[in-house]
């Protein structure tokens, strides 16, 4: 083969076998086929022959003093191996993500309906459940505190925690606090309590180890934060509590907090037997945190041209009985409370409170969802007040790169808000409903046959949202990746090992894509996620492709560097080398050798801890600071048909434009946008945990409704890729933004169809028909 001796840089002749399945492509996810065929092993499928089953006794009361607990009935049940309460917790008695305020099991008092009071291990799950029923707890029932605003301000409210009922108050002050405006619109809004409704209930298996520690197989979002909390509660060093990620059946925030981790471990250590716990569907509704219900009071002042002069807001987020991540949710709601708009003067206060309602914490959109419902409703009010088109009023106020946020942070990467609005507006509208025929499946009410077109009015609405990506406010947010390169059976093979939780979003696919692209090898294996490697951080805040993706990229770069050093030495060459299609390639001389040849028996195994750029804490009195790593945006246009007589809604179209910086896996990106939009649709028209007097009234999928295929329209999705120079590959977190904007877009469309104010979501038929 003859080659020019002096080829220019990147001469075309150096291409070798193309690597498929790299960054920017959409290789099939390895778990996809198994999941579709029902063969994927979820955490609830874990099995050991000698295992016991754990079950949990829960409080029936939202607020009560525990007078006595009689465990004898449970102990006397044949098949029961142990029964444990608060007194048996070997280590720290409290845990929590931000505040250690939640007892492993209730002590003296229960603060929410469903709080764990005792646990049992038995040789059969039904025996364990029946033994639980035989535990007699005498309660002195107390009047529950169920209103977040009262919890913070009412002087006669009971104090639920030693430090009071306030979890966090964050004020944001920017500009003139006394600004006035020509046009003022005010509104009070409410967002109901949404559930993550993952399909795989809380479950895991704790196996006692010979060294006195425990091996815990668990479906979670963050192995290391679980490890830290479990170890503390068990009174063990971290290295004696080893976690392995089991098959996760969805998360959406609900697996950030501990559920059965400590309980199963306690039972396993006590009995010396593996213990499995699987929550039932109903129990699951009590077993995890939900989205904070919110009450929001807004006032927007604008010029006659529709430019915002000021935004004032007071928001109350109901954190329920324990803090969970309420503090961070408060920060998001407050700092993103204006939305993707420029407002020179901002006065925002957000309170997160303790009540006796179900605990609330992380859920996709995390504070930004509640704020967006209010600020987008306000933008529509402003448009109506000014006689402006809803898109026009948004475009006039759209933020952009260079905008100063209410926190004083200057946005330093693409923020194409105006363009996104114009693009979604320009998408073709669905055809009008036919007047001479009908298809029930395309009408509100569907096959339930409630209308053949009577009372059906079409409405169009817009919603745009903003979300911070990664952990904020100076949090030391990092991910660890280990990458090993070796030759196996003559083939160069990379192995990627992280502790980052694949929860169904497709992270394992992305990790392999990055390794292929960075190392130029086809064969990549993904090591099961566990705590043998450093933390991958949480699978939340739309951060894993950014963070663990970034860590895998960095680890691959390090491995590549070492490999090329070896190559230079063995091949006696100098200068720039790179990897392509399993070959060592020189800029000057083209293909030099096979990677496999150069590496030989050598194994390169490198671990990298990778951080995003640092952020700062917010000033506690002004809310000023460079608090967020990255901002992400999505916009929706919803078209709905409302049966105005019956109050039934069908979403006809829900088209979306989202900027993702770089689509690492375009199919997965669109999947996230579909799923997020559907979850936002749920919050708009059906999904609500109904709580009355602190009690959940609908803890089952019979009455907690989530959208079906007949509720969710096919979507047009326009994915923009405007690189963020601070992020790996320029990518922007994808998972949360579509959940934020779809809800306000749909509710706006319902308002357009009905002419009603509709200050609350989810919108019920009663709200449309005036029969609440």
């Amino acid at each position: 083969m003859s080659r020019p001796t002096k080829a220019p840089d990147k001469a075309p002749d150096r291409i070798t076998t193309p690597i498929t399945g790299g960054v920017g492509e959409s290789p099939l996810r390895p778990d996809g086929t198994l999941k579709v065929k029902g063969e994927f092993a979820y955490s609830s499928d874990l099995w050991m022959d000698d295992m016991l089953w754990g079950a949990t006794l829960r409080s029936p009361h939202p607020y009560a003093r525990i007078v006595s607990i009689d465990l004898s009935g449970a102990w006397q049940t044949p098949g029961v191996h142990t029964v444990m309460t608060y007194d048996d917790v070997p280590g720290e008695k409290l845990f929590g993500l931000e505040h250690t305020d939640q007892p492993v099991m209730a002590h003296e008092v229960v603060r929410y309906q469903g709080e764990a009071v005792a646990i049992v291990a038995a040789d059969h799950p039904e025996t364990a459940r029946r033994a639980v029923d035989k535990i007699v707890v005498e309660y002195e029932v107390l009047e529950p505190l169920t209103d977040a605003e009262e919890a913070v301000f009412a002087t006669d409210a009971p104090t639920l925690h030693p430090g009071g009922n306030l979890v966090r108050h964050l004020p944001i002050r920017r500009g003139d606090q006394h600004a006035t405006a020509d046009v003022v619109v005010r509104g009070e809004y409410e967002v109901g309590m949404q559930d993550q409704a993952f399909l795989g209930p809380e479950s895991g298996l704790a196996v006692p180890a010979e060294d006195g520690g425990v091996d815990l197989y668990i479906a979670t979002q963050w192995l290391h934060v679980d490890q830290k909390q479990v170890a503390k509660c068990l009174g063990l060093p971290n290295d004696k509590v080893r976690l392995m990620l089991a098959g996760v059946g969805g998360a959406f925030g609900a697996r950030e907090d501990l559920s059965m981790q400590v309980h199963a471990s306690m039972l396993a250590l006590r009995t010396g037997r593996p213990v499995k716990i699987v929550y039932s569907r109903e129990e699951s509704f009590f077993g995890h945190v939900h989205r904070h219900p919110a009450k929001l009071y807004y006032e927007h002042g604008a010029t006659r041209e529709g430019r915002l002069v000021y935004v004032k807001a007071r928001m109350f987020l109901d954190g329920g009985a324990y803090a969970s991540s309420t503090g961070a949710v408060v920060a998001n709601a407050a700092t993103l409370g204006v939305g993707p708009y420029e407002a020179p003067n901002v006065t925002i206060d957000c309170w997160g409170a303790y009540t006796n309602n179900p605990p609330c914490g992380a859920m996709r959109g995390f504070g930004a969802v509640q704020a967006a419902f209010a600020y987008e409703s306000q933008m529509d009010r402003l448009a109506a007040e000014l006689g402006l088109d809803p898109v026009e009023v948004r475009v006039r106020n759209a933020m952009a790169e260079g905008t100063t946020m209410p926190t004083g942070q200057v946005v330093d990467s693409a923020a194409p808000v105006a363009e996104m609005l114009r693009r979604v507006e320009a998408m073709p509208l669905p055809p009008a409903a036919p007047t001479d025929s009908y298809d029930l499946r395309e009408l509100p009410g569907g096959v339930s046959n409630t209308t053949h077109g009577e009372g059906v009015v079409r409405g169009i609405g817009y919603g745009i949202g903003i979300k911070n990506v990664c952990f904020s406010e100076g949090f030391d947010d990092f991910s660890t990746a280990r990458v090993r390169l070796e030759v196996i059976a003559g083939e160069p093979t990379a192995m990627v090992h992280t502790a980052a939780a694949e929860v169904g979003q497709g992270l394992v696919t992305v990790q392999a894509q990055i390794a292929r692209t960075e190392l130029g090898v086809e064969r990549v294996t993904i090591h099961p996620a566990d705590t043998q490697v450093g933390s991958g951080g949480s699978t939340s805040a739309s951060r894993q492709t950014y963070m663990t993706g970034g860590a895998v990229k960095a680890a691959c770069e390090k491995v590549r560097g070492l490999l090329l050093d070896i190559a230079r030495e063995r091949l006696h060459v100098e200068g720039q080398l790179h990897l392509d299609g399993g070959k060592i390639v020189s800029d000057r001389h083209g293909v030099l050798a096979d990677l496999a040849e150069v590496l030989g028996d050598e194994v390169i195994d490198e671990t990298v801890e990778w951080r995003h750029r640092p952020t700062e804490a917010l000033d506690p009195t002004t809310g000023q600071g460079f608090a967020h790593v990255q901002y992400a945006f999505a916009v929706h246009r919803a078209v709905v048909d409302v049966d105005v007589d019956l109050g039934l809604v069908r979403v006809v179209a829900l088209d979306c434009v989202q900027d993702v910086g770089k689509a690492i896996n375009p199919d997965a990106v669109v999947g996230q946008i579909h799923g997020g939009s559907a979850q936002g649709l749920g919050l708009a028209v059906m999904e609500e945990i109904q709580v009355r007097d602190g009690k959940i009234r609908n803890p089952s999928f019979t009455d907690y409704l989530i959208p079906t295929i007949l509720d969710m329209p096919p979507m047009k999705v326009d994915v923009l890729e405007l690189a963020d120079p601070h992020a790996p590959y320029g990518l922007r977190g994808v998972g949360e933004p579509p959940t934020i904007s779809s809800t306000p877009a749909i509710v706006a469309a319902i308002r357009a169809a009905t002419g009603l104010a509709i200050p609350r979501c989810p919108v019920r038929p009663e709200d449309i028909t005036g029969t609440a």
Binding site: R129, E282, R441, P444, G445, G446, V447, S448, N449, T450, T451, H452, E454, G455, D645, L646, G647, L648, R650, V685, M686, Q690, R697, N698, T702, D703, L705, P707, T708, I709, L710, D711, R764, P765, E766, T769, T771, A772
Partner: protein, 285 residues
């Protein structure tokens, strides 16, 4: 738990006579849910799925006798043209899986006020055939439902079939749910025009302790319809009919909806279904 799987109907009746507390199981879409949730722990289960005759339907004296074990999916496929009201209701039951397993017999056995088969059975004037070792009797649908999840059967009886005439006129069924499929009725309404007797049958679901007919509405509309030279119905007539249907209900506020909404929705569904049925009648004459 004792489990019986009789192969013949007499065998099933004998077991039921011996164990009056036994729980029959057909499709199991109610029974298994209750077992799994530990709501009931029957001592004796009688699985009826092996009894071939429960899965058959045929015509006797111009009426259908539909075995209690015929699943919704077959009612839709095989009887959709002649029992349109029941077929419309069947299409709204659960999901394809539930429609493949679930049966009208099971719906009658459960006698939930929200059961979707009830309004069309009431509107069509169906009769339920129940049997025991003592014999067989026919219970008119509007005497069958006696209370919340209670029916007129004796402890030793089983549901053999229901008897229903092929539609002699247009039929309609409408159901409110807060999503567009796979939902339990917030309230529902069944309507059947009977040109042969010049009457109108109704059935109101999920809006009272039992499914029930709206007798005043039936009487009112029978007096308004001119069957021989049918004109379009005046809006005021349809509205009045809707009001009377709503008044026949005694709904409650619950997790699925308010009483006020149920009453309102019933009036809307009643006037709409009446309009559709009457227009169809006029078109087909």
């Amino acid at each position: 738990m004792e489990f019986h799987k009789p192969r013949t109907w007499p065998e099933a009746l004998a077991i039921k006579a011996e164990h009056p507390d036994a729980t029959p199981i057909a499709g199991g879409t109610d029974v298994m849910v209750e077992l799994n949730f530990d709501v009931h722990r029957p001592d004796v289960l009688i699985d009826l799925t092996e009894i071939a005759e429960l899965r058959e339907w045929f015509t006797v004296d111009g009426r259908y006798r539909v075995g209690s074990g015929v699943p919704y999916a077959r009612i839709i496929d095989e009887l959709g043209a002649t029992l349109p009201g029941l077929a419309m209701a069947s299409r709204t039951v659960g999901s394809p899986q539930i429609r493949n397993r679930g049966t009208v017999g099971g719906n009658l056995g459960a006698a939930s006020p929200a059961g979707d088969a009830h309004p069309p059975l009431l509107a069509a004037g169906a009769e339920i055939e129940v049997a025991s070792v003592r014999g067989t009797r026919l219970i008119p649908a509007d005497e069958f439902y006696t209370g919340v999840k209670r029916n007129a059967m004796e402890p030793d009886e089983l549901i053999a079939a229901f008897h229903i005439s092929p539609a002699d006129g247009p039929q309609q069924f409408a159901k409110i749910g807060t999503r567009n499929a796979m939902v339990i009725a917030v309230c529902s309404f069944g309507l059947a025009l009977h040109p042969s007797t010049r009457t109108v049958g109704t059935g109101v679901g999920s809006a009272a302790p039992t499914p029930r007919r709206a007798a005043d509405a039936e009487a009112f509309i029978a007096g308004e319809l001119d069957w021989d030279s049918p004109l379009p119905l005046r809006d005021s007539v349809k509205r009045r009919f809707g009001e009377l249907v709503a008044q026949s209900a005694s709904p409650i506020d619950d997790v699925r909806g308010t009483a006020g909404y149920r009453q309102h929705a019933l009036s809307v569904m009643a006037r709409r279904t009446l309009g559709w049925a009457w227009d169809e009648y006029r078109r087909n004459r």
